[in-house]
């Protein structure tokens, strides 16, 4: 019997998960336990397997070996009948929002409730509530995604993910396509929203400052393996390997070098 690091308070548990994509392994023996009501960032360079890990949590990808448990239930393939109820526990936001282009903002946001046959009245009041929460103007409701800005699209996507009030939010590089100002603004808002609602968040990114700003824990992935798991300050002060150190070093802003005001204190 293997030692089990997971506790009842963990929302997401992966045990020796190995997953392949197109024949080549993308995740290798990943063990991970993520506590509830915290924000967990999966960090790593492109192609390290972080999006694959997220797909294992939704059941879109079934790992070849190992088990994935979300909120106390083993994840089944997303297409399994009866999986719908389990899916209510998860809200998903993709890089470009993952909004359906043929539906208006309102129709996108209310789709989860419509599939579950909520009453129109209940849908309307939840819609208004969420518009206040993510600070989206009600006048944008009837626009198609094409006619929204990148930031507006991400707010709409967040509303849709939150509509059924799921305990778990999954975000796959949600802000990487935004300009720096909207990105910073949305990062702040996401942080306050999940704190206020007490959601468990798993967020995938390759943006180190974003990870440091949002994360309670960071899981650093390197080529399908967990290189290090810990808090942001942990990863900076005590990198587990030369690779982890060099990856985290990459976050030192280059413009300081240019200005000749190198300040290594914060990193070293």
């Amino acid at each position: 019997m293997m030692p089990d690091p997971a506790t009842a308070a963990d929302a997401v548990v992966l045990r020796r998960v190995t997953a392949s994509y197109g024949g080549s392994p993308v995740l290798l023996e990943v063990d991970l336990a993520l506590a509830a009501r915290q924000t967990h960032v999966i960090l790593g360079p492109s192609g390290c397997g972080k999006s694959t890990l997220l797909r294992c949590l939704t059941g879109i990808l079934v790992p070849g070996e190992g088990t994935v448990t979300v909120l106390g239930r083993d994840v089944e393939p997303a297409s399994t009948p009866g999986q719908r109820e389990a899916n209510h526990a998860t809200g998903l936001v993709l890089q470009d929002g993952g909004l359906f282009p043929h539906l208006t903002a309102r129709a996108n946001v209310t789709l989860p409730a419509e599939l579950n046959r909520w009453s129109p009245h209940r849908i309307d009041s939840r819609l208004a509530e969420l518009e206040g929460l993510v600070r989206l103007s009600g006048t944008l409701r009837d626009r198609y995604p094409r006619a929204l800005s990148g930031g507006q699209r991400q707010r709409v996507a967040l509303m849709r993910a939150l509509f059924l009030d799921p305990p778990l939010l999954l975000l796959d590089e949600p802000f990487s396509a935004l300009d720096p100002l909207s990105r910073t603004e949305l990062q702040h808002e996401l942080k306050s929203i999940v704190a206020a609602l007490g959601k468990t968040v798993v967020l995938v990114t390759h943006d180190i400052p974003e990870a440091l700003f949002l994360a309670d824990t960071i899981t650093l992935l390197d080529d399908g393996r967990v290189a290090q798991h810990g808090s942001g300050p942990d990863l900076i002060r005590h990198p587990a390997s030369a690779w982890a150190r060099s990856f985290m070093q990459a976050a030192v802003p280059r413009w300081r070098h240019l200005l000749g005001v190198l300040d290594g204190e914060a990193i070293r």
């Binding site: 939704t58 879109i60 899916n87 209510h88 359906f100 539906l103 599939l115 094409r146």
Partner: protein
Amino acid sequence: MRRHRMVALLAVAVGVAGCSTPPDRPVVRIGSLRDVEGNLLGELFAQTIESAGEVRVERRLGLGGTGVVLAALAAREIDLLPQYSGTLADLILRRPALTSFDSIRVLARSRGYDVSGPLGFNNTYGIGFRRVVAESAGVRRISDLRGRPWRGAVTPEFEQSVNGLASMAKAYGLTLGPVRTMEHALSYVALARGDVDFVDVYTTDATIRQQDLVVLEDDGGVFVRYDGLILARPGFAAEFPRSWAALAALEGRLADSTMTRLNSAFEIERRPAADIAAEFLSGLAPPSGGPVVVPRQSVTAGRWGRLTVEHLLLVGVSLAIALVVGLPLGVAVSHRPRLAKSVLAMVGVIQTVPGIALLCFFIPVFGIGWQPAVYALALYALLPVVQGVITGLQQIEAGLREVAAVLGMTTWERRRRVEFPLAAPAVLAGIRVAAVINVGTAALAALIGAGGFGTLIVTGLALNDWRVVMQGALPSAGLAVLLHLGFTALEARVVKWR
């Protein structure tokens, strides 16, 4: 008010039909080539049989070219038709070397067909020159053509026939210039304009007199005789002896000059075939094709309406079949890329078959007329429809399918709410292309007797009348443009999100 008149008309029509056609009499279907002589002779045979009072007659005149009428006879779509001894020997008996009428008749009878004696005229091929050209060049016989690269325009039939262009050039040792292939309607115009030096003519053709052409003497005796005759399906004479006897009374009564006069009355003077045939049968000679010019009849509004309905039905029904087959087919294969590829390759091959060939492939199965045309058009419309579905479904971003799965949609919910709407623009574009292609191809369907605007095009070509051709060509072009605009507007309405 209008409705009352319609009802009255219907009542009259039903009444007339009821009087003239007692339902107990069997039906005989008469076909013919779509040319002037075919239409006239067919009408003449029809009235002759009607006067015998043994059967009812259904006229299926002007069916198409030789291939189509022979296929119709073989498929028992028609019972009898006017034919020629040369065609009978060459294309039915496959014995082009047979030349004497009696030996052709004996062989045809031994194969079961009923064949009348010669009607009297020999409508064989001839080479026509403009009189001024022939006289200035001193050309009177075909052998006079040697040594100069004369330019010509000949019908496809003359070009293809073993008794046609090739054997003429070989027998006389001619080195001709460029010879183009076109229908008589066009070749006579080309000759009049001086674009070509000679055309092939039929020796009873009314145009010879009208355009004052010189028909060169076949001094080498190359052109086989095309004696007019009546060809009936096996068993016809035995089944309907009185009708066959009445037809036999026509033997020998139609000399070359008589046939040319009848053709002229129909083609040049534009008199109804029924009147010409009736006058001939009552012993009255029709007026000679002199300077009498009767105004041409334009297509009536009623006929236009009928042709429009026929055309729209051809396009609509074939498109509906293509949708019923193509939409589920596309959906079924779209998520299996390799299968989708081979299905597309298959319907793509169908698409590369020329429209007219595809139309003809169905004649052995469904005969001629509306049905084979609809199936051929449906096959033709299949590629754009299937391609639209497959393209539309395959181009959906994988992320959107993942979101749908995470939202817990069932397969059917995912299709109805996400995949079908997202594929709709490509599917609608495919349907639009299919509809527009079919309007054009349906114009060809008249060649196998399916009706529609093509009827006017085919008739116009057969009767050498450009205005009739345009009356069919313009509305079918207009219909294609209208459908294109209509579908484009529909796409804009359905796809508001793009």
